[in-house]
């Protein structure tokens, strides 16, 4: 039996099979099979597995090219003095401003601090030494980035902890609620195959329903 759906031809076949015990009953299932070219792989005469391979190959090649481009790219060093001054200054809070870094602040003091950073860099001091110099003068509050040690470590750990605990809660919640559903009706292979096959129709129906539901639920 052939069936026209959208612009494709589908072969619809009825298949009789028996359900596993204890529901040992003969049932009729409907099997749809699409005919005719649709996906690019078909045009090349490739079978399903080969098509997956084609796509995998294309994606892999792109990733590879990307990696090559990355390697081939000129490495940008922060050897430019301006850039190095900026990198250090952007880690320091402008003491007379509110929530603006030394790098970004238009304030006079920030300008002087940038000058100090430049001088110290020219004298050959390391960024760590320079930052320590400002911490000694203005206190730990001058650091925009809380150090990852001591008390300030708490600033970093809490969000991470929340994400991990939250992820665990979500996962166990979903699993707990899925397992119960799964225990009721364990899908067999045929059902899974059908689910996959019917997914496309569901999508079309859902789309149609969205139209209607949008109207009805308003």
């Amino acid at each position: 039996m052939k069936h026209e759906l959208w612009s494709r031809t589908w072969r619809v076949r009825l298949r009789r099979r028996r359900l596993p015990a204890p529901l040992d009953l003969p049932v009729t299932t409907i099997v749809w099979k699409a005919q005719g070219p649709r996906r690019p792989g078909y045009a090349l005469g490739l079978r399903s597995r080969a098509r997956v391979g084609l796509w995998g190959g294309v994606c892999g090649a792109l990733v590879l090219l990307l990696a090559l481009a990355w390697l081939a790219a000129p490495v940008v060093h922060a050897d430019d003095l301006d850039e190095r001054v900026r990198q250090i200054a952007s880690q320091l809070q402008c003491p007379v401003c509110q929530s603006v870094s030394v790098a970004d602040s238009p304030a006079e003091l920030a300008r002087q601090m940038r000058g100090v950073i430049r001088e110290k860099l020219e004298r050959g001091e390391t960024p760590e030494q320079i930052i320590q110099y400002f911490v000694d003068r203005y206190g730990e509050g001058v650091l925009l980035n809380p150090p990852k040690r001591g008390f300030a470590l708490g600033a970093w750990l809490a969000p991470l902890a929340l994400l991990l605990v939250g992820g665990w809660v979500v996962a166990s919640f979903v699993r707990a609620h899925t397992r119960r559903a799964g225990a009721r009706e364990a899908p067999d292979e045929l059902e899974l195959a059908l689910t996959a096959e019917l997914e496309r129709y569901r999508e079309a129906i859902r789309r149609e329903l969205d139209d209607r539901l949008g109207e009805l639920t308003r």
């Binding site: 792109l62 952007s90 980035n145 809380p146 689910t195 639920t217």
Partner: protein, 673 residues
């Protein structure tokens, strides 16, 4: 004769008992089953709106007529201010902005009782009570702590004038949008509480609240974008988002609100996550109150807290009371909040929404934690510490990346149970587009891992949205035989919520690309130039021509004249300024010169930092920036508004189905009656 402001003072006092009456009358009407009482509670809401409109009108009148006998007018305005800034001074200070909050809440409450009256009448007594309860709190603060219409014992000759930072066109829209954005999260909260109080905990409240929540999401989102725009154009540090405590406070309710808008879809369709949705509505409201409190209390130092005062304890008390009462009620109702269905599979749209919520809540928490950690540090060990942009960028970056990736996958996942094979098949095109887009970006020289990852995710989302549109159009073309353009408009018009949502996703993509471009590829230089001298920044040569001085009625302006060239061709004339406002000479403001250069989509951004007189004229110190892609953020803002407008736009009511009753039956019914 009494000044008009006294009338407003009186109206403000009168509004308090009226609001309190509505709080009591609503639930009481339900108890004694009295429709007239319920209608009087509703009229109470409308009366509060009328009274507060009168109060606001008298305050504006006091501003416009320079009635400096009103303390707030004297503090916020002066005679020489242009009219438009005199009106914005209304919400420039603490008392006025609280009045604005209360006033807009009364207007929105009226809109709620009028527009949602029919669709949610059983909830209305409690909705009125909660809305007016919040209103009562603000009216108490306005009447007893921070009264905008309080009169001074004498009338000064002139006022102090508005902080010059606030004298900017951005001021017309940014603060009112932001405050209204905070305010409008009261409505979802009121409906959530009404559902809890009445025990009507099925989807009824959600379906009504959806549009109000969407409205709040739109207003607050627009407020955030306008805030960035204002910061970019006025503050003069080359950026638009500084992870400042006040910005964070505004971002947090928007994030939890976004989570709410997504997770209510799960409850609508599948009857799950009921407790979670109620919790999100409560949390969003609490964060909105926290935001108002942060802006207005000065508890966290910030560029935005222009007023510091005694309202802190009031807000803190209200916040604590709200949270404790709401959570206690939620706990009390837990037995009624059983989920109706279970998850069918780990791979489903439901799970995707759960992960989306997890990421948004984690992001909110990270922002919250970073904002209050300095306070904790000071309280616990008495050491000042700072949590600044590098922290937020490191924490928020990966979370935003994960959110984007999820945004690319989730729309293609089926509800209940997505088959992995189908999902993978659907994802081929977006994945290929994302990889190609990243390749192109890499070839164009965007060789920074973070930026490439961001571009990958952004293109991925855009491709998914495009695929969804394409599929929808293809279905309509096949089934209804419509041409593509017609199919597109009908598709969007018939599913405003879904496709409007996708357009909002596109807006997020544009904003993400703008943020990636400007934060990874900004170039900048500080230079001091003599007249005629040139400086090179990236591909641009910037020539300084000279300095000039202007005077207006209220300010002295110093302006630098610059010409920007690229490949020997003039591309822009730039005129950055420094402004010294009367009464605020110690706080000169900067007027940034910004020129968006189209083919490369870069902003030339020049700040006049200072100048020095020498023998050969004025030397100017300039801060030069090249900010790539920032205009994409503003474009994204427009797309955001388009998307939310489509989603909010009322869908035409479906034609009512007419049931034809056979004549015989009709006769029978007639004879019975």
């Amino acid at each position: 004769m009494l000044p008009l402001s006294s009338l407003g003072f009186l109206a403000l006092q009168l509004a308090l008992p009226v609001a309190m009456y509505a709080v009591v009358a609503g639930p009481l009407a339900l108890r004694v089953r009295s429709m007239p009482l319920l209608l009087s509670a509703r009229n109470g809401v409308l009366a509060v709106a009328a009274l507060l409109t009168l109060v606001s009108a008298t305050l504006v009148h006091a501003f416009v007529t320079h009635d400096f006998g009103v303390r707030y007018v004297a503090e916020q305005s002066s005679r020489d201010m242009p009219l438009q800034y005199i009106i914005t001074a209304f919400y420039g200070g603490q008392a006025g902005s609280l009045l604005y909050w209360a006033w807009t809440l009364s207007l929105l409450s009226s809109a709620v009782v009028v527009l949602s009256w029919r669709s949610a009448r059983p909830l209305m007594p409690y909705v009125i009570a909660v809305l007016m309860g919040v209103e009562t709190f603000f009216l108490v603060v306005l009447n007893f702590v921070s009264n905008p219409l309080e009169r001074l014992p004498f009338t000064p000759a002139d006022g102090r004038g508005l902080n010059p930072l606030l004298k900017d066109p951005g001021m017309f829209v940014h603060p009112p949008l932001l405050l209204a954005g905070y305010m409008s999260w009261t409505v979802p909260y009121a409906f959530a509480m009404a559902a809890l109080l009445s025990g009507r905990l099925w989807n009824e409240w959600l379906i009504v609240v959806r549009r109000w929540a969407l409205l709040a999401f739109t207003i607050l989102g627009a407020g955030l974008l306008m805030g960035s725009w204002w910061a970019y154009h006025v503050l003069g540090w080359g950026g638009y988002w500084g992870w400042d405590p006040v910005e964070n406070a505004a971002l947090m309710p928007w994030l939890t609100g976004t989570a709410f808008l997504h997770s209510i879809m799960v409850q609508e369709r599948r009857g799950m996550l009921k407790v979670w949705n109620l919790g999100l509505a409560i949390a969003t409201f609490a964060l909105a109150i926290f935001g108002t409190f942060v802006v207005r209390s000065g508890i966290l130092t910030s560029v935005h807290s222009f007023a510091v005062s005694a309202i802190g304890p009031f807000f803190f008390g209200f916040l604590a009371l709200t949270l404790i009462a709401s959570l206690a009620l939620l706990f009390y109702r837990l037995p009624l909040l059983r989920d109706e269905q279970e998850f069918d599979s780990l791979v489903s749209r439901e799970t995707a929404f759960l992960v989306n919520n997890l990421l948004l809540v984690a992001l909110t928490f990270a922002v919250f934690w970073g904002t209050i950690y300095p306070l904790i540090s000071e309280a616990v060990r008495n050491v000042k510490m700072t949590v600044g942009p590098p922290y937020y960028n490191q924490v928020a970056g990966p979370l935003l990346f994960a959110l984007l990736i999820l945004m690319g996958i989730a729309p293609l996942m089926a509800w209940r149970r997505a088959s992995l094979g189908n999902l993978a098949r659907s994802l081929r095109w977006p994945a290929a587009a994302a990889l190609s887009g990243t390749m192109l970006a890499a070839l164009a020289g965007a060789l920074k891992p973070g930026a490439l990852a961001g571009i990958l995710a952004a293109v991925f989302v855009a491709a998914t949205v495009a695929l969804e549109f394409w599929r929808g159009i293809a279905v309509r073309r096949r089934l209804a035989k419509e041409p593509a353009a017609v199919a597109l408009t009908r598709l969007v018009a018939r599913n405003r919520r879904r496709y409007g949502g996708y357009i909002v996703h596109l807006a997020i993509v544009l904003i993400a690309l703008g943020v990636i471009g400007s934060s990874f590829f900004q170039q900048q230089r500080e230079v001091t130039l003599a007249p005629g001298e040139r400086a090179q920044l990236g591909p641009y040569t910037i020539q300084y021509l000279g300095l000039s001085e202007y005077r207006t009625a209220e300010a002295r302006l110093i302006r630098a004249e610059l010409i920007a060239e690229r490949d020997g061709k003039e591309v822009a004339q730039l005129r950055p300024e420094r402004q010294f406002h009367k009464n605020w000479e110690q706080q000169p403001t900067t007027r940034v010169a910004i020129e968006t250069l189209l083919p490369r989509l870069e902003d030339l951004y020049v700040v006049l930092v200072g100048w020095e007189e020498t023998a050969d004229g004025y030397h100017a110190s300039l801060h030069l920036f090249v900010n790539p892609a920032v205009s994409l953020i503003w474009l994204g803002g427009l797309v955001f508004l388009v998307g939310t407008t489509i989603t909010l736009w009322p869908q035409p009511q479906p034609a009512r189905a007419v049931l034809r009753v056979p004549a015989a039956l009709r006769r029978m019914a007639g004879s019975e009656a």
